[in-house]
Subunit: 394 residues, 2 copies
Amino acid sequence: MLLVKKLNHIKLNRGKSESKIMQQSQKEEKIKPLENEEIILDAQTLKAIEDLLQNKNSPTINDVASISGVSKKTVSRIINNSENVKSETRALVSEIIKKIGFKPNPQARALAFRRSFLIGMIYDNPNAQYVVNMQLGVLDALRGTGNELVVHPCDRNAPNLVNEIEDFILMQRLSGIIILPPIAEDRQLLALLDRLDVPYVRISARDGAKYDPPIDSNQIVSVDKIGCEMAAVHLAQIGHKRIGFIRGNQIYPSAHERRAGFLAGLAKYSIEIDSEIDVAGDYSFESGYEAANIILSNKNRPSAIIASNDEMAAGVYKAAYEHGLKIPDDLSVVGFDDSPLAPRLTPALTTVRLPTRDMAKMAANIVLSPQSEVAKTILFDSNLILRNSTKAPQ
Amino acid sequence: MLLVKKLNHIKLNRGKSESKIMQQSQKEEKIKPLENEEIILDAQTLKAIEDLLQNKNSPTINDVASISGVSKKTVSRIINNSENVKSETRALVSEIIKKIGFKPNPQARALAFRRSFLIGMIYDNPNAQYVVNMQLGVLDALRGTGNELVVHPCDRNAPNLVNEIEDFILMQRLSGIIILPPIAEDRQLLALLDRLDVPYVRISARDGAKYDPPIDSNQIVSVDKIGCEMAAVHLAQIGHKRIGFIRGNQIYPSAHERRAGFLAGLAKYSIEIDSEIDVAGDYSFESGYEAANIILSNKNRPSAIIASNDEMAAGVYKAAYEHGLKIPDDLSVVGFDDSPLAPRLTPALTTVRLPTRDMAKMAANIVLSPQSEVAKTILFDSNLILRNSTKAPQ
DNA sequence: CAATAAATAGACACCGGTGTCATTAACAAA
DNA sequence: TTTGTTAATGACACCGGTGTCTATTTATTG
């Protein structure tokens, strides 16, 4: 076991002659460490650490520097894992940093780096569970990186939305931005983000490259289509021949993707879509209720309904109840989102789950990592969660 | 209409003699403004502003200072609404600040002020809607104050919870903290907050002063009791004589308060509580389901059940369904929280609403305002939301 | 072994504000 | 007019880090 003695204790800003003296004494004291070195600090250093810890203020980089006997720039290099630091120096200073519990001040770093180590999450989404899952996912990725999450819900209809968000980003000097649907499709906002030169990731239900004009940015895409296709296939497999569909709000890409999945599933079983039971909705409970009323009043009532989200599926439950239909015996229902609502409905709702939290985590990781030139698109599959709201038709 | 000319354009850090010259020329140029003064800048200043706006970087306090011809300290005073600034100076500099769109850099201020203008929200709460409402309420209060919200969900069972939160607070130098239940009752955490000397507000369902030992801190208290009492009174009024109750998790004060409200309501109608239908739950859907099964299997089945939250009320729906009981005809149900679930259940659930968002807004306002010595307690009443899950017994 | 290059460390200015204290201006009282 | 007092302003250090450039060691090479 070898020792690394602390370098020395002289003041900073010393003159040249002093500097030379230091180097000499240093040479004498120091012993080169092997692997698995153990750092042992001398009594004087331990005393200095002790004294410092009495102090109520949290230690600064200057404290570390003076105790270690190096310049604060060297400490800075070690904090930031920069190159060109001798491994012994690094080991010693790291030890002292740990001993005195030094944590670099984020505001000071922010000032010097010209960015805040804050990640902003911008959204206007009514689904609380979705938003919370996204926050949790981002925090999963941020943990231990020294970054924090600043949430910024907004109103997509506010006239000065773009300006407001610009102020937010510029003032806070955000290190990165994650933007959730539906405003992740807002062209003006995306133009702003491109202009501001802040790393950002869009979360969406459809690949931006497929738009016209295409959106060229990092994005996390949930493949909503797959899940809806699985739902349709599931219903067809257990014997349903006539299946109603309630669409989402058409301004969201997700609505188109989900319906496309539904159609794809039907196509596999050569079932034709009947426009009379393919009804518009807007993702709200009420619209689901109304759409279900239309579908269930059809002279050739379907034996199953797929709703484009769980809210609307809950509306189907209400309409079924009023039509005297029992779920799943008289009517099978499938939702989308696997919201907290789904398992709590009676009977529990079969639905499609998106890996929301994982998507957000991935988004944050991309924002944190050094940006490559080409925009990344990462796809996440959705999948079907079977519960008790579907059954073979009678 | 009178004019305020800009003071002058000399460089900062000028010598004394220069300084005198400035003052003289200033006297000649300046005209005292009346109320409703209109600020007119001279051509030279406008040119300087023009030049600055070409620059891509956001303007700094030095830019404002040099254009206005005052020191940056004076600009600082104006930003912070300090005293001892001549009203003309203030008007002029404010005008220039507006013209060039100067926004003080929060990180620089944070460094100098030794606090970050970030408000932390600390919680471990599974109810997404509750959390999101709290966030929205806090943001309502923060808007326009230059503060931002940093969210910090955590795990109440983590062994190093206190240390982790201490690091969070100290490193980020939070300007204030809002802490949500249930961890707003955690004694260790509260001890930490007291020790750290950061303004914080607890949100809770029971007045901390009533604890033993009492908690002495700013707090926003929801009076859960009132709402439950109203629920019990409502059921009694429409004729229910035998009412079941499902308790919440007893580690939360809310559980006690809600049950106390229930008992108070019964007492008003001289209804006695039967311990056989006063069943434990833990706020989860499953526990509600199981408790309801116990209650509904009672030989003397009650005609109504009050559940301590909506989740458990949804569990009651499931149990009722399985017992072949129709809500509300055979069984009335009342929940608590007015979660998004409540109106989406079939039939829509009568429940108690807490003014969550308003509570959070108030909490944030307290955290932002200069702290008085005495701890504030602010009460918010809950109230009953009537929907379709209650009906006179048959 | 000297000459040269590469690795390591430090000095100093700077990021963009605020605190403290000194200085000057404005105003009231003598 | 002079003096005393308060209002208004500025100079300068400082908050706690990083960037740049220079100086010093150490390693490499002819």
